[in-house]
């Protein structure tokens, strides 16, 4: 299977004017991108802002994307450059990001942003999602758990997993799908309750 096939399908749709396809790309890569950006900035909220900016830059530059490299490689380059620029900009603007609280309440206050991004409710929900997924993975049959972990943690292709597990590629695809479905059933319950709670919190 050609790598990046699904991304290219979505990219082509975006290039033809389908913004909904870009949502799918954002959903797929948002966590990876935030994790990447957090190598440059420590604050999760700032990392999200930079990731958001990177996604928007990527969207605007997408007409020039020819598919010479994988989409995520291209996206990661944009995110790294955006993060580096943000760091340089922050270093040049000590007042904006300074910890001197006497500089005025109207100035951008990173400490407040840090508090906003890590509200107890938000952290609880994130922890709840994490614990739910982990519990669901632990409860998976061995063959399903191995398949999904090899895929998500090790990044192996279906063919490589098939070789490792000594089974056909079709079986790998089925195992990974069933693992995801099992986890998703648990996760959906959390989201339906948790997201509603988050909305109430504003």
């Amino acid at each position: 299977m050609g790598a990046d096939t699904s991304d290219l399908s979505l990219v082509h749709r975006v290039q033809r004017g389908d913004k909904g396809a870009f949502d799918a790309l954002v959903l797929k890569y948002q966590h990876k991108l935030v994790k990447l950006v957090m190598r440059y900035v420590r604050n999760p909220a700032e990392a999200e802002d930079i990731a958001q900016e990177a996604f928007i830059k990527a969207y605007r530059a997408l007409p020039q994307f020819r598919g010479d490299s994988a989409f995520y490689t291209w996206l990661y380059r944009i995110a790294i450059n955006t993060a580096k620029n943000a760091v340089v900009s922050r270093d040049r603007s000590p007042v904006e990001y300074g910890l001197d609280r006497t500089s005025g309440d109207e100035s951008y206050d990173m400490q407040n942003r840090l508090k906003d991004s890590e509200t107890p409710e938000g952290l609880v929900l994130t922890d709840e999602i994490r614990s739910t997924v982990n519990a669901a993975i632990d409860a998976l049959p061995e063959d399903l758990r191995t398949a999904i972990v090899l895929r998500e943690l090790e990044g192996l292709s279906y063919e490589e997993i098939a070789a490792a597990m000594d089974c056909p590629v079709g079986t790998v695809r089925s195992r990974i799908f069933r693992a995801r479905e099992t986890i998703d059933r648990r996760l959906r319950e959390v989201f339906e309750g948790g997201l509603g709670r988050a909305e109430e919190l504003g």
Partner: protein, 211 residues
């Protein structure tokens, strides 16, 4: 949602779906909210398995990006150009035809400008043909009938525009047995009528041969 579709979605998430199926599913994914939510949860599972600490798994990042992009011009801008091109396509053949016609007309005008012109032609027509200066050649058929004899133009030292060369006339005469008399006559008549006066005057060899 059927199981086959979910299975395809899972494979597509892993870049393990054939490209043709990807195209179809990508279209559906971009429109189907439930499918998109499931896709997003698949991403969350991966983030948890990879223990991406510090990442808010419930962050509304996708929603924020989507909201910003609502105000963005669509990447369909090139498409609108394409539509405009499509709209213009109906008159493109007309323009092309007009262009071709103007080029052809230009060529005709240029050729006419290069030819001896009506004044010279009239002068040639008015003057009696310098009969002593041309060579009467009996056709290879051997007959002495008027239809069988031809006039070979004298070789001119001056280059003449659009006038067949003497070699061509000689060639025609030499191969006359392979062409019809009418064709030969037409060609040579045309040749004679385009020959400027005095062109054959400077051909002593031709005079000698005529005698």
């Amino acid at each position: 949602m059927n199981e086959e579709l979910d299975s395809q979605l899972s494979a597509m998430f892993d870049d393990e779906l054939p490209s043709q199926e990807c195209e179809l599913l990508a279209r559906r994914l971009s429109r189907d909210g439930e499918l998109k939510s499931r896709w997003g949860r698949y991403a969350i599972m991966g983030a948890v398995i990879r223990a991406e600490r510090g990442v808010r798994l419930n962050a509304p990042l996708a929603g924020r990006v989507s909201a910003v992009l609502l105000a963005e011009p669509s990447l369909a801008a090139p498409r609108s150009v394409g539509l405009r091109r499509t709209g213009l396509r109906w008159w493109q053949p007309i323009v092309a035809t007009g262009l071709a016609a103007s080029v052809a007309a230009g060529c005709v005008l240029w050729l006419r400008a290069q030819s001896p012109g009506p004044a010279l032609t009239a002068e040639v027509t008015a003057r009696p043909a310098p009969l002593p200066d041309v060579v009467a050649v009996t056709a290879a058929t051997g007959t002495n009938t008027p239809a069988g004899s031809y006039v070979v133009p004298a070789r001119s030292k001056k280059p003449l525009a659009l006038v067949p060369t003497t070699e061509l006339a000689n060639y025609v005469v030499a191969h006359s047995m392979f062409s019809s008399p009418v064709a030969r006559r037409n060609l040579l008549s045309a040749f004679m009528s385009s020959e400027p006066a005095g062109a054959a005057e400077e051909l002593p060899d031709a005079k000698a041969a005529g005698r």
